[in-house]
Amino acid sequence: MSAAPASGAAPTNKAAVADKSAESAKDVKLAAALEEDDEFEDFPVENWTKEDTEVPGDNTHLWEESWDDDDTNEDFSAQLKEELKKVEANKKK
């Protein structure tokens, strides 16, 4: 059996190789992204004061508790409105 690749098969192989390497490059990238400082590191110092924990900016309103969105003109609402109207119209027929 000849070791040389049959003509015509070569480009496919090449493409497959390129594909594979692209895929493995993607895998490596993904793995790197997931591994990114994956461990909760040991603290470099043992103890600190309350002052050391303070960060600039607003520290009292970190969380939004009332977040309902009353805008009925954005895309999803508009489409949903159209759908509700249509179904309502079909019911009346």
Partner: protein, 551 residues
């Protein structure tokens, strides 16, 4: 003076002075180390191949105390065994063989823990035992990421027929022994300091937790948390680094057990107490803190935008919170689906399934609110006593609409528009809006969790009514269902400032109030916040609790 002799003489003098810190500095194993240690290793290799000789030398420099004249600061058998093991470690270690090093270090840690167990003198080796355990934990974590090295071990374990205990799990078990010893120490905490070996509780607990999270055996931590609740002094007596690390792991443990409210309390406290400069740790805490808060109905505010630890995180979570806000189920499924490119990341962090299952409830609540907003005709008569209602069939329409979007349905191509580009048919305004149609290649196949209800199942009234009933039961919708009329009716619209406020209370408010009612808002199992009354020690009742009339 030979280096081994010099070393032993120093150890003996530290022991007499009870200088735990110097002992720790002398009894190190983790490179990089001063040249002295290499010389020590060399001399041990050259002159102390014979274990008996080594033992004699140790006893010469560090005399064991007799039974009668036990001077303070003398050595005890456990300590001598530990020093011998330490020197043997330096004689035999080959840092190029990580597995063998791990085995040797495990033996060394075990002997250090035995030395620590001496009730009178053990405390002097506490810093050393913590240091060595920490080295062992680090090596265990490192080896866990090297399956090429540990796969052989696993095969041996399998062949032995014993349960599949990984190297990391074994390491956790070793260190847990030290933890238990510290926890059960009888010394009382005096004032602002934990007494005796109790000082070491959280140092060891944090190592064990790190290892258990690494090998995904977090359930093994349950007993540890229970024991801490019963026997530990309050956490606030310990250094900040230990408090923050412990609360981070406790928060994650509670999160993975679906105790989101309590998880939030721990993680929030860990975040507030964390050093402002420790970005790695703050970021880890924040990942779980944001996830927990999303589930509880709180979204990260703009305050996070300027924080370095939040960099890149808000982008991952905001599609989820935006979808919840709008009640857009399709956008929600996509925000957590493979198309978002974040699915793997969420999964890897262990927050994917909790977010998917728990936040979905909030999306349903917002979708109900949205449909109400779009369909309800606010009464013209301000004195109308008619209850505000939401038609369940409208909710079915909305749920089916989301399902169609997920399956790739779209508007049919208008042949007239194609034939006459740029011109619309003059009668378009009179024409009815066309129905959505499935894509030409067939409906997109959805996996179970990718569909609104389950895969490609089109939601129907039975399911939607059940979902609304569940929201009512959870307090997320305020009102009742009239099954006969097919409607959800809002209660108390007048008193609560309109049907929107009355029927759809803020999620966080509902969850927080329920936690308060059930007493889950302050006490967290595993987190000792107050000093224990009565010291928590064992009271020996022999001789006190005699039967009535016997004395």
């Amino acid at each position: 003076m030979a280096i081994v002799d010099e070393f032993l003489a120093s150890i003996s003098s530290f022991l007499r002075k009870k200088d735990a810190e110097q002992l720790r500095l002398y009894l190190r194993v983790e490179p990089p180390l001063p040249d002295h240690f290499m010389q020590l290793s060399k001399e041990l290799k050259q002159s102390y191949r014979d274990n008996n000789r080594l033992e004699r030398q140790i006893e010469k420099f560090i005399p064991e105390h007799g039974d009668f004249a036990s001077e303070e600061g003398d050595a005890w058998p456990g300590f001598l065994a530990f020093i011998k093991e330490y020197l043997e470690f330096w004689r035999d270690v080959d840092f190029d063989n990580l597995l063998a090093t791990h085995a040797q270090l495990t033996t060394l840690v075990n002997t250090s823990i035995t030395a620590l167990s001496n009730p009178s003198y053990g405390i002097v080796v506490l810093p050393t035992a913590i240091q060595l355990s920490s080295n062992l934990a680090k090596l265990g974590m490192m080896l866990d990421k090297r399956p090429d090295l540990t796969s052989r071990l696993r095969k041996v374990a399998d062949a032995g027929g014993e349960g599949r205990k990984t190297l990391v799990e074994g390491t956790a078990e070793t260190i847990q022994r030290a933890f238990t010893m510290c926890l059960t120490d009888r010394s009382h905490s005096a004032g602002s300091k934990p007494g005796g070996r109790k000082v070491g509780i959280y140092s060891f607990a944090n190592m064990v937790l790190k290892l258990l999270f690494q090998c995904r055996k977090t359930q093994l931590a349950t007993q540890m948390f229970q024991n801490i609740t019963q026997h530990s002094p309050q956490l606030s007596l310990y250094p900040a680094s230990q408090r923050v690390t412990y609360l981070y792991y406790l928060g994650r443990f509670l999160f993975s057990n679906n105790h989101f409210f309590r998880a939030q309390l721990c993680l929030q406290s860990a975040y507030y107490q964390c050093h402002a400069q420790c970005i790695n740790q703050r970021r880890h805490i924040l990942i779980y803190l944001i996830s927990t808060n999303l589930i509880l109905g709180r979204f990260p505010s703009r305050a996070f935008m300027s924080r370095p630890e939040a960099k890149g995180l808000l982008e991952k979570f905001s599609p989820v919170s935006i979808a919840i806000r709008k009640g857009d189920m399709a956008a929600f499924k996509r925000a957590l689906g493979p198309e978002s490119e974040n699915q793997q990341w969420f999964f890897h962090k262990g927050v994917y399934l909790p977010l998917l299952c728990r936040c979905e409830v909030l999306v349903w609540r917002s979708l109900a609110r949205r449909v109400f907003l779009l369909t309800y005709q606010f009464p013209t008569d301000p004195n109308s006593r008619k209850a505000a209602t939401l038609d369940i069939l409208d909710m079915v329409t909305a749920a089916q609409f989301c399902q169609k979007i997920l399956e790739g349905w779209g508007k049919p191509v208008d042949p007239l528009a194609v034939m006459q580009p740029g011109r619309t048919h003059m009668n378009t305004i009179f024409m009815k809006v066309p129905d959505l149609v499935p894509p030409a290649g067939g409906r997109k196949k959805l996996r179970a969790q990718q569909g609104v209800i389950f895969g490609n199942k089109m939601p129907d009234i039975l399911e939607v009514e059940a979902i609304i009933a569940s929201l009512v039961q959870q307090g997320l919708l305020h009102g009742f269902i009239s099954h006969n009329q097919g409607k959800f009716a809002i209660l108390g619209a007048k008193q609560r400032g309109g049907p929107l406020n009355a029927g759809f209370p803020d999620v966080w408010e509902v969850i927080r109030d329920r936690a308060k009612r059930e007493g889950r808002d302050s006490e967290v199992p595993g987190w000792v916040q107050h000093e224990k009354r009565g010291g928590g020690g064992v009271v020996n009742l022999t001789g006190i609790a005699r039967p009535v009339g016997s004395g």
